[in-house]
């Protein structure tokens, strides 16, 4: 038999065919179902006999009411079983390491360099207690300090705090600083309104409200830009501040951003810049020049720290000199030879978290910037934007897709597309297209609610994917769009090559059926006692 040309079938007219993907599918039981009485996953260091002799039965020192009667009903597995179970589950998870993750728009799913992960796992990072004498943690303090200086340069702001545990926590911190600022000027009662826009991240509204403010939301004008006239109608002597993302989630840069800031300043408010979408403007434009008083960055987005299924993360907060006194405590300082944590900050809003921020995330962010430098960061922004506009061009060629707003204009680092035309003609919805795309090894995200853009799909290529990969992504969506027209049922019943089949969501909203733990499930659905 002659040797078959294996590779020939993988291409058609020089272009690669879509991969015949199938996600790992283990049909893995819930871990409790793997339990076998008596098994041990790890053994605990034994207490020395001398200690035992000295202390006796230590549990007897507890009053009856405080002694646990029955051991917790945790599963009993051997070590390799635990490992095997979790490795299988990880295989059933489509991390950025595996897929062309341009689909999770606004999340900035860029490459998280492995060398930085390794650095973050060194004992010199992991085996350090936050309350150790400062002399013994000069290394990590130096990393954090240097990174703060880097952020100062990137944003133009005067001082930073790395304490907030992610973007939303940072937004809340900014709202808290706004509150403190106005309180210090005796205007806290008067200034109780924060203005934001509907295309900013939902946390801008939610965190402002949590901090006690009234939230006024502006809707965009016809071109999709935040409406300046609406802003003018919204400001008053009650305005505490503006919290806005720019570019917004649509990928459009608000060219009037300076006027926005001015209008709010004239009304006596301050402006906070949500820089979650900073990836496309690094080295190009800064919060400072636009007049902002506060800003924040997501280190797990723009600065490459991995997303970890949803954290840990850092939301770095930056402020002007005037607001620095309100920053969370302690503040990191350098006296020329040593790094210090300064707790003497009487006007600080206090603690946002227990210590100083998630240090390993800061370490990765620092290493990432150090590997690129100023030119590298500029390249990051330029290629991210080039990738995005390239993707935009290809995407709008797909029948049924449009990119609402800012017609004919360039986008910055992401675009919110709309499948409205396709949905009208075929009845297939955006979510369904996204799920069918899963059958080819990619996914995408629609939009935050509310869906202002109908049938939305938000893509953010970042700088991490090659031209070929971008083209593969488009080829997949092109194929799925075609299926929507020719074989809609196939798309509507997707995914077919994934881990599981269509989920019945009804129980999740029914208090009599919902179960957030296995024990609740056994009790309510299986009606078993445990």
């Amino acid at each position: 038999m002659s040797q078959q040309d294996i590779t020939k079938q993988r291409h058609t007219k020089g272009k690669p065919n879509l991969r015949r993907f199938h996600q790992a599918k283990w049909d893995e039981p819930i871990i409790f179902e793997l339990s076998r009485e008596g098994q041990r996953g790890i053994l605990i260091p034994e207490v020395e006999e001398e200690i035992r002799n000295e202390v006796g039965d230590v549990l007897a020192t507890l009053p009856e009411t405080m002694r646990r009667k029955q051991p917790p009903k945790l599963p009993e597995l051997s070590q390799p079983q635990v490992l095997r179970h979790y490795v299988r589950l990880s295989q059933e998870t489509l991390g950025t390491d595996l897929n062309i993750d341009v689909g999770q728009g606004t999340c900035t799913m860029k490459y998280s360099p492995k060398v930085n992960d390794q650095l973050a796992r060194m004992p010199k990072m992991t085996e350090v207690h936050p309350l150790q004498d400062e002399e013994t943690v000069q290394g990590i303090l130096e990393v954090m300090y240097r990174f703060e200086q880097i952020l100062k340069e990137i944003s133009g702001m005067d001082q930073f705090s790395l304490q907030p545990g992610a973007g939303s926590a940072a937004i809340y911190t900014n709202a808290s600083i706004l509150r403190a600022y106005h309180e210090a000027r005796g205007e806290a009662g008067q200034r109780d309104e924060i203005i934001t826009t509907i295309f900013s991240h939902p946390s801008n509204a939610a965190c402002a409200k949590t901090a006690g403010f009234k939230v006024i939301t502006l809707y965009p004008d016809e071109d999709g830009y935040p409406d300046l006239e609406a802003l003018k109608a919204a400001v008053s002597e009650r305005t505490a501040g503006l919290m806005i993302t720019n570019p917004e989630d649509t990928g459009v840069f608000n060219p009037k951003i300076e006027e926005f800031v001015k209008v709010v300043h004239e009304a006596g408010g301050l402006c906070a810049y949500d820089q979650a979408n900073a990836n496309g403007i690094l080295g190009k434009t800064r919060a400072r020049e636009a007049g902002f008083d506060l800003c924040h960055f997501n280190l797990h987005k723009t600065f490459s720290s991995p997303h970890g299924c949803g954290g840990p993360a850092v939301g770095a907060v930056g402020v002007t000199q005037e607001l620095a006194r309100f920053l969370p405590v302690p503040v990191l300082e350098f006296d020329g030879s040593k790094y210090h944590l300064n707790y003497d900050r009487p006007e600080s809003i206090g603690k946002i978290g227990p210590f100083y921020g998630v240090a390993p995330v800061v370490l990765r962010a620092y290493a990432w910037v150090m590997s690129l430098g100023a030119e590298g960061l500029r390249e990051v922004a330029e290629i991210a934007v080039l990738n995005n506009n390239y993707l935009l061009k290809k995407m709008v060629e797909i029948p049924g897709v449009s990119a609402p707003y800012a017609k004919g204009k360039r986008r910055i680092e992401q675009v919110r597309y709309s499948w409205e035309a396709l949905a009208k003609e075929t009845g297939v919805h955006s979510e369904e297209i996204g799920l069918r795309a899963v059958d080819f090894g990619v996914h995408y995200w629609t939009s935050h609610h509310p869906f202002i853009v109908p049938e939305p799909c938000t893509l953010e290529p970042t700088e991490s994917y090659s031209k070929d990969e971008l083209e593969e992504y488009v080829a997949i969506l092109t194929h799925v769009a075609d299926e929507a027209y020719t074989n809609p049922e196939l798309v509507k019943t997707a995914p077919h090559n994934s881990t599981i089949h269509t989920i019945d969501h009804a129980p999740l909203d029914d208090p009599s059926q919902w179960a957030m733990t296995w024990r609740a499930y056994l009790r309510k659905v299986r009606r078993e006692a445990r």
Partner: protein, 375 residues
Amino acid sequence: MKVVAKRLGLIVNPVAGIGGRVGLKGSDGAEIQKRALELGAVPQSLNRAIQALERIKSMKGAFEVITYPGEMGEDAARECGFEPMVIGSIKQGETTPEDTRNAAQEMVRLKVNLLLFAGGDGTARDIYNAVGEGIPVLGIPAGVKIHSAVFATSPRSAGDLAELYLQERVSSLREAEVMDIDEEAFRQGIVSAKLYGYLKIPFRRRLVQSLKIASRPGEKASLEAIACEVVDRMGDDCLYIIGPGSTTRAITSKLGLNKTLIGVDVVFKGKLLATDVNESQLLNLLEGRDAKIIVTPIGGQGYIFGRGNQEISPEVIKRVGKDNIIVVSTTEKINSLGGRPLWVDTGDRAVDRMLSGYMRVVTGYNEQVVCRVSC
């Protein structure tokens, strides 16, 4: 997926929208209908009904279709492969609003889970007269004038929503306005709309909702929040002129008062001072007093003045002053505008222009949006 035997009622108004294509406004009255057919009009509602039913075809076996004979529903149902239970009797080619009402009443008796109808505002009114808020209803748009909010945005989405409701993946209902347009006036170019009543329609909380996340009744919470916000700020020093709408009604309910469904009421010091007032009564009450007006967008188009609350006349508005107007609305309603502004049509261009620009709208507790207002 739950598969439970459900009953879907189907009523098609064969003459709805018949006038539109040939340039006649509306199609009430046998005269207009005859004229339209002479002009070569082709009934639209059958096609629209079929488009909607196509969407639920795949779950055919899971529910029973109950409908009226021939052109009032049976034809559409059979065209899509259903085998409906046919009730009642009609005179083919000479159907009347009476038929629509009878059909609806019968379906209520037969306990349909959802009544799907193809028609326009007129048909909606007829159904309302027969059914009130007794059973869930959903309109397949097929008429020319669609001012009522009881319709889906298209025949396809009517079918989609009906499917979700029958599958119990959408289970909440909300009240939607039935509008009554004066046909005669309409033909003369005058839009005169009154709020006629409310029907209960299946409600998806989002404009476009994730099909994978079923919704919980959230509107109640929104209305409660809005009511709290407004009531918290109400003072004893002025009158409150409260327009019709379910959102404004939530405010009076919070005060423990019984608001008229479609009229304008006046509240003072937390009590109902006058109900279902007209313009002159309002002007009398306003003599020498401060007042605030509380209104909510009525109908599918987002009118805050001019559709269903004409009693709040230009004169009343001028006396109260633009700064004393409180607009309330759920965010769903604002989002359903799809970027379009709120509208005013008081009848007085000057007042319309005064109201135009931007207004704050209360959307929850400590929450507002800024909306464009146009005339």
